[in-house]
Chain length 306, copies 2
Amino acid sequence: MSLIVTGTIGIDTVETPDGERREAILGGSAAYFSAAAQFYLPVRLVAAVGDDFPDGLMAQLRHFPAVDASGLEIRRGSKSFRWGGRYQRDMDQRDTLFTDLGVLAEAPPEIPENFRDSRYVFLANMHPALQADLLSKMTGPRLVVADTMNLWIDIAKDDLTSLLGRVDGLVLNFDEAEQFTGKRNPVTAGRLLLEYGPRFVVVKKGEHGAILVHRDGLAALPAYPAEQVVDPTGAGDTFAGGLMGYLAAADPTDPGDFATLRRAMAHGTVMASFTIETFSLDRLRTLDREQLEARYREYAAMIHLG
Amino acid sequence: MSLIVTGTIGIDTVETPDGERREAILGGSAAYFSAAAQFYLPVRLVAAVGDDFPDGLMAQLRHFPAVDASGLEIRRGSKSFRWGGRYQRDMDQRDTLFTDLGVLAEAPPEIPENFRDSRYVFLANMHPALQADLLSKMTGPRLVVADTMNLWIDIAKDDLTSLLGRVDGLVLNFDEAEQFTGKRNPVTAGRLLLEYGPRFVVVKKGEHGAILVHRDGLAALPAYPAEQVVDPTGAGDTFAGGLMGYLAAADPTDPGDFATLRRAMAHGTVMASFTIETFSLDRLRTLDREQLEARYREYAAMIHLG
């Protein structure tokens, strides 16, 4: 089965509440997503960076052999996307220190011809009009899921609403779901979002887990109760990567069915729990399948009523 | 099997963010706890009120036939405990409008002779020295669980620490666990609390569920994803009531074993989900066993990975 992600590769600077700081580390939604999803199946990565993108970070990305980075454009004369953030004490709020859009202010990346037949499509956070444009290049997806952010709900709600009519699923944070719908309740907000077209909405609550609002039912999953939380950056993108990776590898008869999605969310949850143990993709680079499966079993046992 | 709760019966005034206000409604930890637990087995209630306690509220309490209120003292010349609170917009914070301690500033209630052989004991929130005193009257409990609050961590931490050496389990809010241990992580905080003696700690996170930190393992349960949230007052006490009620009725060979406790927490979670649908104990008064079991099945299916 084939899985594609369109999104960003970035150069991040991250400060944590205990005073740790890492400069110019690998980040971006597509980097996190594909590093997670490639544990389940090969992933086609579509993104763009500038020619200032450090070789060292490129080597880190290429460390993941099942990520097909032939859709990663390196643009001459352009600057890479850079983001800096500082986490507040309880790690569930962060302040943006700077954002240099770089290539993100230019045309979106091209989808290579040989990627266009991808059956599972994840549109990571980007202007919803660009997400729609990228989606229109795909020739026959089985399942399309999009992520979004508060900025687009603010300034491009019509485009986002239109996109919702064209995707099977939406993944977003609780605050974004509230912002879009005006409803503080994740289930109520999720149900309202379903009215715009998707078959399911995944409301992410960070350290408090995630809720699946699906036309065929509701599911609630706690986060893995992690004790080691160094850097939450990318938790949401690796959650989506684990979710989509599991789903595409399983490739069920009905690709958006409730039971498989719930299991897929559990895989996403476990993947995110590794991501936050270190900065950047450091933990995912050392993660092996045995550790992943062991923690999945531990998590499944933890939430099972037995 | 026998279950006893020591705690408060109060007269509450509650304001919710949408401007609803209820004055002089039935409240208090022991009221909520026993109304929940009595769905599983008879409950022995120990508390005190003043002679100003309204007949109407007493009738509401007596509506629950499996609550043995013969340990409820009505003190001549004393005033009942009254509390007023206002919930903030997102329902997970509340401001206290007033507290009239009344009988709570007097001697604690007596435990009737015929209650002292109770095998399951729940010490609802009260000064930890009084909790210890009440516990010392019990002749042979199988399992003792205590609740507490931020005030006692502030002003009576030594008494609380001493109490922890005498109970099997502690139930407390996430913020209280952080306040006691200085650790923001619920698992880390729970593990530190175990060092004071209990075999398990249940860290409650309100709308975000609860975490069980047990000497034999960890469990994480999401809250029931409720859409109808009118008044969260008593959610924690009915959570404890459902938990202890299920546990005492099941009366396992090892009364604090991990697997039974996890299931007991699920029962507490479901019970709390009913409580918050209305003010006071209104929903629990109309709840029947069939509705309770249906929602338990729904909840279990919701979190089961299948």
